[in-house]
Amino acid sequence: MEPAMEDGIWDAAARWHAEQEREDCDWDGFTAWLEADDRHRLAFDQVALLDDRISHARPLIAHSLPAEGAEMRVARFNFRWAGLGMAAGAAALAAVTVPMLATGGGQVAYSTAPGETRSIELADGSRVQLAAASSLTMDEGDVHEMTLKGTAWFEIPHDPSRSLVIHAGNFRVTDIGTKFEVNSNEDSLRVAVAEGSLTVASESLPRPVSLRGGQRFVAARNLDLAEVTRFDGREAGSWRHGRLVYQDAPLALVAADISRYAPTKVVVDPSIAGRRFSGVLSIGDGSGLVGNLQQFMGLAARREGDGIRLVARHRD
């Protein structure tokens, strides 16, 4: 029917077709491309017809499409992020100068430096992996309470006879078991369950939230809402394998994570803090993270003190 087409021709046809929407579309360039080879015109015909077909069948197609995004959301709550007495937490973190410290009052504190991770084994066989620039305090001996600042991956067998609470900012994680990640920052929280179940509670939540394997809870300042969404459970704790994986994550949360690995602290301008990011960032030595995020999201970086502020870039 048609002369043999090459991939490059289809690519070019698709690109030219996408460009047509522009106010400043290059019609001369398009003409020259069409003139260059008969196959170009034929390829463009196909693309234009396919696009036209889809436009005309839009309602029927919409009806047949699996709901993207909407299918991922399990629940949503109005939610006001309450500024916790973070000063207290920050002071506790600053006071910890050695990796493990008996803080007196029957507590033990573990912490990590930027770029460092630590494994902690508990008496009952539970394991905790602490991510970079994070701290975890817990009872000595029988652990009933832990307090987390930053990110940690937990493997804790479900034990109804034991009451264990993990404090993360303004939140409490209870009814715990078995494999999950908690990511607690000044302006955001994410609890992701790979296997098992748990409950997330807070004064600011209308009711405690139950999570199962493959479910994730996210809340952030600037969002005015908290969400439970589905996700691929295997992605939880991906930082243990050198990758930061996000799906619709609030930018503020991504920045907080990056700050754990990058040489400088990264904050996000409030005007864009609510934007969502989906993608994978390779951690490497941490130096490329900000640049990668900038490229993905079309952001600019401004030096602020000894840190970086991400802001919107002036776009076309």
Binding site: W10, E23, W27, L50, D51, R53, R58, E68, R315
Partner: protein
Amino acid sequence: MTGLGSKSGLKHLYELHRPELLRFLVARVGDREEAEDVVQELWLKLDSAHVGPIANGRGYLFRMAQNLVLDRLRERRRRERREHDWTVEKTGLGAEGLHVVDSAPNAEEMLVERDEIARIASAIANLPEGAQRAFRLHKIDGLSHGEIAERLGISKSGVEKHMAVAMKYLRRALLD
């Protein structure tokens, strides 16, 4: 001074750009005679075109020309499909002559269409994440490239890249 959007303004632009429009159309349809047909049709359409202020009159005319070509392509395809179905029907009718029985082709058409819709929907659902999101926002939800750029926090050329990737995959899935 007549505004760009007024009829006389557009017609003036047409006269100014007619040679380029014709050259574009020759390249677009691959046939001199048909290209002249279209450029004439474009002139006639300007009479009935209802337009408000236009920022880029030249671009507007090119876009109109492009749409006229698309109309013809669409018609040609419909005709080809009808003829194809008719041929199939004819061989099935045998001695009954050349009359096409209405009900059977319609039912057939409906099944073909339903199957096609399902294939398109499936192909869209299998697009890579970024391209799928941009494509759905544009083609299903009707957002402009600019609105999508805002929503996704990317640049407009980023949106165009996603759309080009989407079309590339869809064409491969649906037309090969």
